[in-house]
């Protein structure tokens, strides 16, 4: 089952605008390798699920996959052959708002070659350009 919020305050949300780059969630935090988006956009729950399945098939159940995004936003649409007006359409799907630089998936417990291979297959499913990233050096 694709990801979706359990409880919401409002069924429908406004479209909003994706401004700027990701200043949070843009570094590898849980695993060792990650898939970073280079563009912004909406990522539907179905695509997130497709990416998860692709990654788990590619790693053959080895390692651990972390999904760093969640579809909080409901996207509505008006049915075909409907006259304009009469209010906002019904929720069609749930989507995650992705900013350039956001980490989409992370992998841990696998070799770099295996992670690269798996995340390349996931990147093929994504609607925007992605790149493979590793952890930044620990400084502090």
């Amino acid at each position: 089952m694709a990801l979706m919020p359990k409880r919401v305050k409002f069924r429908k949300s406004q479209r909003g605008k994706i401004k700027g780059n990701a200043s949070r969630g843009n570094t590898v935090a849980y695993g060792e390798y990650g898939l970073q988006s280079l563009d912004g956009g909406w990522l539907s729950a179905e695509v997130i699920e497709a990416g998860r399945i692709t990654a788990s098939h590619a790693t053959r159940g080895e390692g651990k996959l972390f999904i760093r995004i969640f579809p909080h936003k409901s996207v509505t649409s008006i049915p075909l052959e409907t006259r304009m007006g009469k209010g906002k359409g019904e929720p069609e799907f749930w989507a995650a708002v992705v900013k350039p630089g956001m980490l989409l998936y992370e992998l841990g417990g696998v070799s770099e070659a295996a992670a690269k291979d798996a995340l390349a297959k996931v990147a093929y499913k994504m609607p925007f350009r992605c790149r493979f990233v590793t952890r930044l050096p620990a400084v502090g």
Partner: protein, 212 residues
Amino acid sequence: MLVNTILKVDARTELGKKRVSRLRKGGKVPGVLYGHGQDPLSLVFDKKEFSTLLMGGTRVVDLARGNEVEKAVIRDVQFDHLGMEILHVDFARVSADERITVDVPVDVRGISPGVTSGGILEHLLHSLHVECLASAVPERIRLRVDELQKGQSIKVKDLKLPEGVRVVNDSEAVVVHIIEPKAAVVAVPAEGGTAEPEMVAKKKPVEDKKED
């Protein structure tokens, strides 16, 4: 440990967004040096030279400014939103005999029997906060998992540390453990169209029961 930790720096007179971005375009990185009760000093140095040191695991560098050499610890490195470009670096002055706290990466080596028998190696602590002499900061802490079975873990207290190094993290914190893989979740399509989340019930307005 790396032998060459010298970084050639110059005092920076270019301040402000525009001037600093011009520096970055020219392959330089702006930075600042502070600490030990002295005035902060704005610096500029070569990006390539600094990247080599940073990726090599160096945490304490010798900043060579003309004939003057100062020891400093890399306190903070700012990257751009993609983590590709170094935007700014903070250095804190230290002396060789001073004890400092730094983050040191944990390097997991070996193939554990728990993984070969179907377990998943979960690496929870990727870096440790350690206290040590500024002249003897370990590049990384090596951890061998050759004897780790399913369900077993290695905690901070189990780590073999170099002499004079003390971990600041909680001694009971788990660094790595091997867990059982979870059963794959099978996607079940929702019956009767798209499933909807539960609505948060709206609060009813409280009726005033004031008696006049």
